[in-house]
């Protein structure tokens, strides 16, 4: 348990000291939203705005992939990854430390992306801010859990930048779809729909279990 706190503290401290990396992710998300705006400008009619939640989460997913790749790239310096492997603790805790640190980073980037998205696309997130925050949290939790597991693998393959999205994206459908449908429900004034929320919760649970158990084998030499 102490190891979990140590890793979480270390990662957040390193993140804070390397704020430029966090800024880079923020700007990246900003760029993605801008490009999406020109690629698929929203029309006045509601039917022309159905795709907006999808666009928002596309921006979030890509910014997250960037962040996750970097979180383990740091561990390669001075072979810190082996230091983690040497920690005399169940590696599930090492996973949780890294995943929660990534979660915090993803939430910060997600907040920024959502803010800019709401402004650009004239979307009223403010009125549903509380419930949207819950959906955003569940989405980020899924992303950071399975993302941390695959980042730990991808960082030690020979084609690192491509490998993480390659591994992550095909498995992200449940979380992303759940988040998009939930967000759409909020924006259409239907409130927090049960099915998408249920899908998000179940998916996060499955991802956390797979990653917690799988990390033991991924961290080995």
């Amino acid at each position: 348990m102490r190891a979990f706190a140590a890793i979480l503290w270390k990662d957040l401290l390193v993140e804070w000291r390397g704020r430029d990396r966090l800024a880079a992710m923020g700007v990246f998300a900003l760029l993605v939203v801008t490009v999406l705006f020109f690629a698929a400008p929203p029309g006045p009619l509601p039917s022309q705005r159905e795709h907006l939640p999808g666009l928002l989460w596309v921006a979030v997913v890509f910014a997250s992939v960037l962040g996750l790749n970097r979180s383990f790239a740091l561990e390669l310096e001075n072979d810190a990854l082996s230091a983690l492997a040497l920690a005399p603790v169940d590696r599930g805790w090492v996973f949780l430390g890294k995943a929660m640190a990534s979660l915090v980073v993803l939430l910060v980037v997600q907040a920024l992306t959502s803010l800019v998205f709401a402004l650009f696309f004239d979307v009223d997130l403010a009125s549903v801010a509380g419930r949207y925050a819950l959906v955003a949290f569940l989405g980020a939790l899924g992303l950071s859990s399975i993302g941390t597991l695959f980042a730990a693998m991808a960082v030690r393959t020979s084609y690192r930048e491509v490998m993480l999205p390659l591994l992550l994206l095909p498995l992200l459908l449940p979380v992303v779809l759940g988040a998009v449908r939930a967000t759409a429900g909020l924006l259409d004034g239907e409130g927090l729909l049960f099915e998408p929320l249920q899908l998000l919760l179940v998916s996060d649970g499955v991802y956390l279990i797979i990653s917690f158990l799988g990390f033991e084998y991924v961290l080995d030499e």
């Binding site: 270390k10 401290l13 001075n78 072979d79 082996s82 230091a83 983690l84 040497l86 030499e221």
Partner: protein, 245 residues
């Protein structure tokens, strides 16, 4: 270096490691007395770091038995009593020396991380740079910090993976004296993997030669001095590799 008759610190019986059909380490028997320093010598690819990684609990033996005194259940328990110093320093550049040591201690689940960090900063006379980020350290200072990082958890088994590579002679000399001094004080059983036969003769009580996964123990007489050791080493290597097997 106590070589009490008691239960050996490291006991290996027919220890073997295979990567698929390739045998990295042939069946090896080994006994190392508590507190003793064993030098593991041999050319590249002989299986030295395979043996080291199995001792560190990072890799599982394919067959045979490997016991380190005080072995609890599972590899995590083994990793609690192991300290590893290698070419990689395991340091986090963005953290200061003090934070690196505290992190290492907490990673091992030690409660008094702050006190230990202060102690080992003094031990390796790094107080001056305690609050400087380790990313700005010279190679010598980084090496000292990585020694402190390994010893802060008071390992019963200290594994040194070619610590002298890339060091100029006097830096190597300083490191050798620090290691001997830290080893004597901590009483840890030490395993020194190196090519540097002079250092091996200077620091080790026992020696083992590995070549292409096969092992051959040298008796203590060989460790009298570097020249004797070099002779014994080359005989052992050619015996193990064999002209045509």
């Amino acid at each position: 270096m106590s070589d009490g008759a008691g239960e050996p610190a490291i006991r290996a019986r027919a220890l073997e490691k295979r990567f698929g059909p390739v045998t990295a380490l042939h069946p090896l028997d080994l006994d190392v007395a508590p507190g003793a320093t064993l030098a593991v010598l041999g050319p590249n690819g002989a299986g030295k770091s395979t043996l080291l990684r199995m001792l560190a609990g990072l890799a599982r033996p394919t067959s045979g038995e490997l016991r380190v005194a005080g072995d609890g259940d599972g590899r995590a328990a083994r990793r609690r009593r192991v300290g590893l110093i290698g070419h990689a320093t395991f340091l986090v550049p963005a953290l200061t020396a003090r934070e690196n040591l505290r992190f290492a201690a907490r990673l091992h689940g030690l409660a008094d991380a702050e006190a230990r960090a202060e102690h080992w900063l003094a031990e390796l006379d790094l107080e001056g740079a305690a609050d400087r980020r380790s990313g700005t350290f010279s190679r010598g200072m980084a090496q000292r910090l990585s020694i402190a990082r390994a010893l802060i958890t008071e390992p019963a088994l200290l594994l040194l993976d070619e610590p002298f590579t890339g060091l100029d002679p006097d830096a190597a000399e300083r490191l050798a004296s620090r290691l001997a001094d830290a080893d004597r004080r901590s009483g840890a059983t030490t395993l020194l993997v190196t090519h540097d036969l002079a250092r091996a003769a200077q620091l080790a009580d026992q020696a083992l030669v590995l070549a292409r996964g096969r092992s051959h123990g040298l008796d203590e007489a060989c460790l009298a001095d570097a020249t004797v050791l070099t002779g014994a080493y080359h005989d052992a290597v050619s015996a193990l590799q064999g002209p045509r097997g």
